[in-house]
C-alpha cells in the first residue's frame, strides 16, 4: 500500500510540470501586451515607446520565453507568484487569504455533501421503489434543477429577512456558513446520492451478498459490505467535487459576499491581472491533481485490485 502511495504521488509530479507550463503558455498567447496592461492599470496617461521598453525590462519581459518560464516556475515553487499588475502587491498576499476562505467554505460543504449523499443513497437503496425513495428522489430532482442563485435568494429571504435567524452575507461567525454551505451542498448531494444509490442497487444483486446472507450474517453487516464496495465510484466523484467546488463558488460567493477565490478571480480576469490569473489557475490545477491523487489512494485502500495495477 505504501509503495502504491509513493508511486502514485511521483506520477503526479510530471503532470504538475505540464500544467504549469501550459498555464504559462496560455497566458502568453493572449494578444495583450502585459507591459501595456501594467501601465494602463497604473493610470499612466500617455504610453510612450520608451516607457513600454522600460516596463518590459522591469518585468523581465525582454528575456527569452523559456528563461521567463523557468524563472517564473522557480519562484512559484517558493509561493512567489510575482506582484499584481493592478495593485502592485504580491499575488500570494492577495490570493492566500481568499483561497483560505474558499477552502473553508468548500471543506464544510464537501463534508455535508458526503454525509448527505451516503445517508440518502443508502436509505434510498434499501427502500428502493418505496415512498421514502420516491420522495427523496423527487425533492432532490427539484432542488438540483434549481439554479443556485435562486435557491440562495429564497433562503436569504426566508431565513435572514423573514425569520431573521441567520446573517444575509459576509463571513463573520459560524452562522454565516450555514446558508452558503446549504446552497452548495444541496445541488451536489442531489446528484451524488444517486450515484451511491444506483451503485448500491447494483451490488445488491452480487453473489457475495447472497453468500453473506446464506451464511446468516446480519443485514447491517451486509449493508456495510455493500456500501464499502459501492463507495469506489463515489470516492472519485467526492474527491473531484472538492476542486470543482473550489473553482465554481463564484455565484455563491457573490450572493453571500464571501471574500473568497471566486470573487477575486472574477476581479482579476476583468482587470487582466496576468500574474493573479496565472496563480489562480495554477493553484486550482494543483488542487485538481492533488485530489485526483488522493481519490486514487483511497480507492486503492478500498479495492485491493487497483493496488496491483500500477
Amino acid at each position: 500500500m505504501y509503495k502504491y502511495m509513493i508511486k502514485r504521488f511521483l506520477i503526479s509530479i510530471p503532470l504538475l510540470l505540464i500544467i504549469s507550463f501550459l498555464t504559462f503558455v496560455l497566458i502568453h498567447l493572449s494578444p495583450l501586451d502585459p507591459a501595456e496592461v501594467v501601465l494602463q492599470a497604473q493610470g499612466v496617461p500617455v504610453i510612450t515607446e520608451e516607457l513600454m521598453v522600460q516596463t518590459k525590462q522591469e518585468l523581465g519581459l525582454d528575456q527569452p520565453f523559456l528563461i521567463r518560464y523557468l524563472a517564473w516556475f522557480a519562484s512559484c515553487l517558493q509561493l512567489d507568484f510575482g506582484d499584481s499588475y493592478v495593485t502592485g502587491q504580491p499575488v500570494w498576499s492577495l490570493l492566500a487569504p481568499a483561497f483560505l476562505n474558499t477552502v473553508k467554505l468548500t471543506m464544510v460543504s464537501a463534508l455535508l455533501i458526503i454525509v448527505l449523499s451516503i445517508v440518502l443513497g443508502v436509505v434510498c437503496a434499501l427502500r428502493e421503489g418505496k415512498m421514502t425513495d420516491k420522495t427523496v428522489r423527487g425533492i432532490s430532482f427539484f432542488v438540483t434543477a434549481m439554479p443556485s442563485y435562486a435557491l440562495a435568494a429564497i433562503l436569504i429571504w426566508l431565513f435572514s429577512v423573514k425569520l431573521d435567524l441567520l446573517p444575509t452575507s459576509g463571513m463573520n461567525s459560524l452562522s454565516s456558513y450555514i446558508l452558503p454551505v446549504i446552497v452548495i451542498a444541496v445541488s451536489y448531494a442531489g446528484l451524488y446520492f444517486r450515484i451511491i444509490r444506483s451503485s448500491m442497487l447494483n451490488n445488491l444483486n452480487e453473489n457475495y451478498v447472497m453468500y453473506g446472507r446464506a451464511c446468516g450474517l446480519p443485514e447491517h453487516k451486509i449493508t456495510k459490505t455493500i456500501l464499502r464496495n459501492s463507495l469506489q465510484v463515489a470516492v472519485s466523484v467526492f474527491c473531484m467535487a472538492v476542486p470543482i467546488i473550489l473553482g465554481s463558488t463564484v455565484v455563491v460567493e457573490n450572493m453571500f459576499a464571501w471574500p473568497g477565490l471566486g470573487s477575486l478571480s472574477v476581479k482579476s480576469i476583468l482587470s487582466r491581472d496576468f500574474p493573479m490569473i496565472q496563480a489562480y489557475v495554477l493553484v486550482l490545477a494543483t488542487a485538481f491533481v492533488l485530489f485526483n491523487t488522493v481519490s486514487d489512494m483511497i480507492n486503492a485502500a478500498i479495492n485491493p485490485k487497483l493496488r496491483e495495477g500500477l
Binding site: N205, E206, N207, Y208, M210, Y211, G212, R213, A214, C215, G216, L217, P218, K221, T225, R228, N229, I302, N303, P304, K305
Partner: protein, 274 residues
Amino acid sequence: MPNFLEVNHLKVWDKSSGEVILHDSSFKVNAESCLAVVGESGSGKSVTCRAIMRLNKPWVSQSGEILLHGENLSFLSDKEMRQKRGKTMYLIMQHGMSAFDPSTVVGVHLYETLKQHFGWNKHEAAGHMSIAMKSVMLKEPMEIMNKYPHQLSGGMLQRIMIALALVLEPDLIIADEPTTALDTISQYEVLEQFLQLRERLGCSMIFVSHDLGMVRKLADEVLVMKNGVIVEQGSTESIFTAAKHEYTRYLVSTKQTLNDHFKSVMGGQGVAKR
C-alpha cells in the same frame, strides 16, 4: 428413514411480470442422504435452492410448505430464518470467485460468520478454520485467509466454502452447481471433498448439477427438472438405468454420447466416467 426436508407444493413466481418460475414442486430429502437436482439452465434448479433458504430476490414470491425437521420455514420471522442460515442450512455457491466480498480478505467473511453463530473471537475462528482448511487440502490456511478473493483460484474459494461448512456442521447443505465454474481437475478435487463432507458431517445434501457423472457418484436420489416442473424423481440407479420420462432418457443418453466421444478421443482412457 425419516424425511428430513419436505417441500410441498412450492410455487415461485415473479411478482412484477407474473411469470411462474416453479409451478408446483414437491419433494423430500431423507436424513443423511443426498438429493441431486438435474436439468438444463433455466429449469428452476437454483430458484428451488434459494426458495428453501428463502433467499430469492425481493421481487420473487413463493408459496407452499417447506418443512425442515417438521418446522415450516415459511412461518419463521426474518430473524429466526437468519439464525437457521449458515448454522442449520448452508449454501455453497456456484461461483467461488464472486462469492466473497472483493474488498476484504476472505478471512473476514469466515470470522464474521463464525462469530455470528458461535460467538468465537478471531483467534478461535482462525484456529477452527485452519484445521478445516487443511483437511480440504488447502495448505497454509492462515496465508490464504489473508488473501483477497481475486488472489485465489475458483477451486480454492470453493474449498474454503466447503471448509466453512465443516466448521459450521449444518444439518443440510445445498450446493448450487458447485463445480460448474471449475476446470476438470478442480472439479474432480471438489467432488472428492463433497464425498468426504457427507461422510464426515453425516448431513443431508441437495446437490444441483448438470454433470451426470458427478451426480451418479454422489447422489442417492435424483430429481429431474424442466421448465420449472419436476418431471421425474427416483433413486439414482433407477434414473440412470430405467428412466421413465423421455427428457431424463434424453439427458442420460447425451451424457453417454459425450462420454463415448471423450473416450474415443482420449484413446479409450475413460477419465470422464469416474
